[in-house]
Amino acid sequence: MKDMVRWFLLFILSFMLIGGKLAFAGDVGTMLKAMADPAGAPFFPVVMQVLQVLTWMLHMIFVYTSIGGLFFTIYGFTKKEERWQRLAKATLELAKVSVSLAIVLGVAPLLFYQVIYDPLWYTSANLSAWWYVLFIVFLLIGYYFIWGAYFTKDKPSMSMIMSVIGVLFLLLVGFIIHVVNYQALYPEKWVEWYTNGGRAMNASGWNIYAFNVFRYLAFLVFPSVAVTGVFLMLYNWYFRSREDMDKDYLDWAGKLGARSAMYAGIGWLVSHILYIFTIPADWGVKGSIFTWLSVLGLVLCAGVVFSSQKNPAKMAIPSLLAGSVALLLIAVFREYLRVASTARFGYSIYSYKLNLEFMSPLLFLGTLLTGLVLYAYAWWMAYQAGKTPKGKVYEASETEHHLGDLSVFIVVLWAIVFIGVGLIVVVRNYG
């Protein structure tokens, strides 16, 4: 991989030399390298990169079900039919929980990203500083409107108004993060933007410098409907075994999901291709395998969803898998764009200064393993509770009790080790 990037860099640099752009690239490249934190990365950048891609994908699933869930809620509340009303409430519930998960899962990709692409992120955020802060304010307002919609779900018109306001705020929040990510891809323009071409210092933080509508549609709007469509197929699949659930309603919801996923998937594919065409030619993106793999992923996913139309419940898991693969390829493509953009100026995360240490990665690994055990236990119990008909109590099996005991034990052990190490260090340094 490293060699590939080096050859790629060499190719881009020679291309620039021919085009007479070397001096300019040198300035931007020097600036980017100077901005990289002098503390260096505490671990191999490629690991940060991979974790960033994977966690971004997880984060986006719930971003999509937040926005897509609200789209279905709003549309459902406009219909008089009982099944639409019921679906509207179900997708509202989905959106409400999804926002929480999207927030919590969104922390990780941004964290890993900031270790290796700090020049991109901090600059772009500061170019539009007020907007970046307002992201938090708008998200807070939007989320409270969604909770408002949830508490008024038995008054459809009120709940719908709150859902509309809620989704508008989420789309606005998506717009802000889109702008910050998009501006970050154009380091050659940062100084020009901030200084109005050398005439000022735009320290107010109120400016927005770049936006790409196709990217916004491809990364946020269309996938929201498509992914929520797949979730409705899973909704059908999951609740089918529950005797107190209406099978006709579930089948209808599953088919609606499959149809929505297909139409929105086409929109996703078209906007994705249109976005690719807007990327400047000197990035060399259009001929890249990562670009076309992302397109292929969407095409394959569309194929699976297309074949799910007749029996969405049966095809729910294959659709989920196909959708996950497509989203992963898009996450890789999105990361590749950063590599391609920064390579023009000789910036490579693979040559990021390294201050390697192993204690804190070990802490992460230990915590991750602890977390996986307890997540497995907690989510399994939630899964079983959801399958239990209303009014009944799920009695855990002996195996489940053992898993529960193991989870408690491992969490306590984690805490003992964490505090114990701390005590040893403190006594050694200050005792």
Partner: protein, 473 residues
């Protein structure tokens, strides 16, 4: 090209960009301390319900969990990243320094953060739907997981104040940085107070449910919360005393000489009010009222958490991270273990405007035409983290600090003797070339002569190509 890694500067006139962090951080601390404290209190109450066979306690727990979801988890989980977002634009190099040292600690915290958020939903939705033993286990995992997030963040916050030991600068060992002198008292102090915070809002919820719960259950809940609350306040005070004893010398100077009484006094008063409230509730549970408990909870925010956060931010000065990065984002000393070099010599030699890539070319070489604007740019870049540099109101304003000083030479004398050559322990040294300090003096004298308030805009008169010619020898 001499470039240091500065980012575009964001300047918020009057109140300062730091206030944005302070507000978001205070909301987060309130919400997170409520939820972490509540997670342990609720797990304890659930154990009581299970062991003493008091199922009505679950009704109370369910209501509290809903309250947590709507208030603490929405505002807490958004304002948590919110502190990070605001720090990104207020002090990008500060947050970057922390992330590049503690990324894995934050990543580990994230594992608990995910556990905490998913578990609060799972607990809410599965209460009464799975057997009590399983639910109780989940409740304790939730409690420990929530508390674990505090284990993590406290180490980073303590490092921001000080690595605690000279050793870290040469070892660069993360354990030395994280488990610093301040860590345990800080963790225990926050842990204690969180019970008082969660207990106070717990009393408000109990008061709302007084009619729905059997008298014995109600009294049991109120007394339990009160005992935990009293313990929280008493232990909190003890650990606070320990915490203060671990502060660096400069922080003591700041607490005594810089932190105003209007920030210190409300904290002491609210601690007394909260303690009195718990004692009253423990002695006479029936006397607890929502209209009393909830305003006290709100007062904890305004009189306790907000001033505490402000003081904590202030006593860290002049640094923002690890006693090597100043609050104005200039690296002030070498950290040999990390290969970090002080930027002060380069800035003093080349000039702050020259090394910042986001300063227009037309300001890099100072002349009589651009002197005022160059001075304003220096003020924004170097001083606006702690001062309103364009007005007479708000955050430690220049208009007041330099009141009456309309002579540039007088300002220059003050800046060089008081801030450059003999700077106070809570302020960074004034850096830059002599020419730049003269430009800053000229700007300050100019703004004072204009009535102590000028526009925050920075405009350049000569074209970029003219400027480029001037800069090049």
């Amino acid at each position: 090209m001499d470039v240091l890694g500065f980012y575009p500067m964001w300047y918020v006139p009057v109140v300062g960009s730091g206030l944005v962090i302070a507000i978001i951080a205070a909301i987060h601390v309130m919400a997170s301390h409520t939820s972490v404290g509540a997670s342990i209190l609720l797990a304890y109450l659930a154990t009581k319900a299970y062991r003493e066979n008091q199922p009505q306690i679950y009704d109370y727990i369910k209501k509290y969990l809903l309250g947590l979801l709507v208030f603490s988890y929405v505002s807490g989980s958004i304002t948590g990243p919110g502190i990070w977002f605001s720090a990104t634009v207020v002090n990008p190099r500060g947050i970057s320094a922390l992330i590049h040292n503690f990324v894995w600690v934050w990543a580990a915290e994230w594992i608990w953060f995910v556990a905490e958020v998913t578990l609060v939903y799972i607990l809410f939705y599965t209460l009464g739907k799975i057997d009590q033993r399983s639910w109780l286990r989940l409740a304790w995992i939730f409690a420990l997981g929530s508390w674990a997030t505090m284990y993590m963040i406290v180490g980073i916050l303590s490092f921001m104040l000080s690595p605690g030991h000279e050793k870290w600068f040469t070892t660069g060992n993360i354990l030395d940085a994280f488990y610093n002198k301040n860590y345990f008292p800080h963790l225990l102090e926050r842990t204690s107070y969180m019970f008082a915070i969660a207990g106070t809002v717990g009393l408000a919820i109990a008061a709302l449910m007084k009619k729905d719960l059997p008298e014995k259950v109600y009294k049991d809940i109120v007394k339990t919360l009160s005992y935990w609350g009293i313990g929280g306040v008493v232990f909190g005070l003890m650990f606070f005393a320990w915490y203060v004893s671990t502060l660096p010398e400069r922080s003591h100077v700041i607490i005594e000489g810089v932190v105003p009484l209007y920030l210190k006094l409300p904290i002491m008063l609210i601690i007394l009010v909260v303690l009195a409230h718990f004692v009253l509730a423990a002695v006479r549970p029936q006397a607890v009222r929502f209209w009393m408990a909830y305003p006290i909870y709100a007062l904890i925010f305004f009189a306790g958490v907000y001033p505490e956060e402000k003081i904590r931010e202030t006593i860290r000065k002049p640094y923002v991270a690890g006693e090597f990065l100043w609050v104005n984002q200039i690296i002030s000393r070498d950290v040999p273990a990390k290969g970090i070099k002080s930027e002060v010599p380069v800035i003093d030699q080349k000039g702050l405007l020259t090394v910042n890539p986001f300063v227009p070319e037309g300001l890099k070489k100072i002349n009589s035409q651009n002197e005022i604007m160059a001075g304003k740019a220096i003020a924004i870049l170097q001083c606006s983290g702690c001062h309103n540099v364009t007005g007479s109101t708000g955050l430690r304003p220049f208009g007041q600090k330099f009141a009456g000083m309309t002579d540039p030479n007088a300002v220059y004398g003050f800046l060089t003797s008081y801030l450059r050559d003999n700077h106070p322990p809570y302020m960074p040294k004034l850096v830059g070339t002599d020419e730049e300090i003269k430009a800053l003096s000229a700007y300050i004298a100019h703004m004072i002569s204009k009535g102590g308030s000028v526009s925050a805009k920075i405009e350049v008169t000569n074209t970029p190509s003219e400027a480029k010619k001037e800069v090049q020898p």
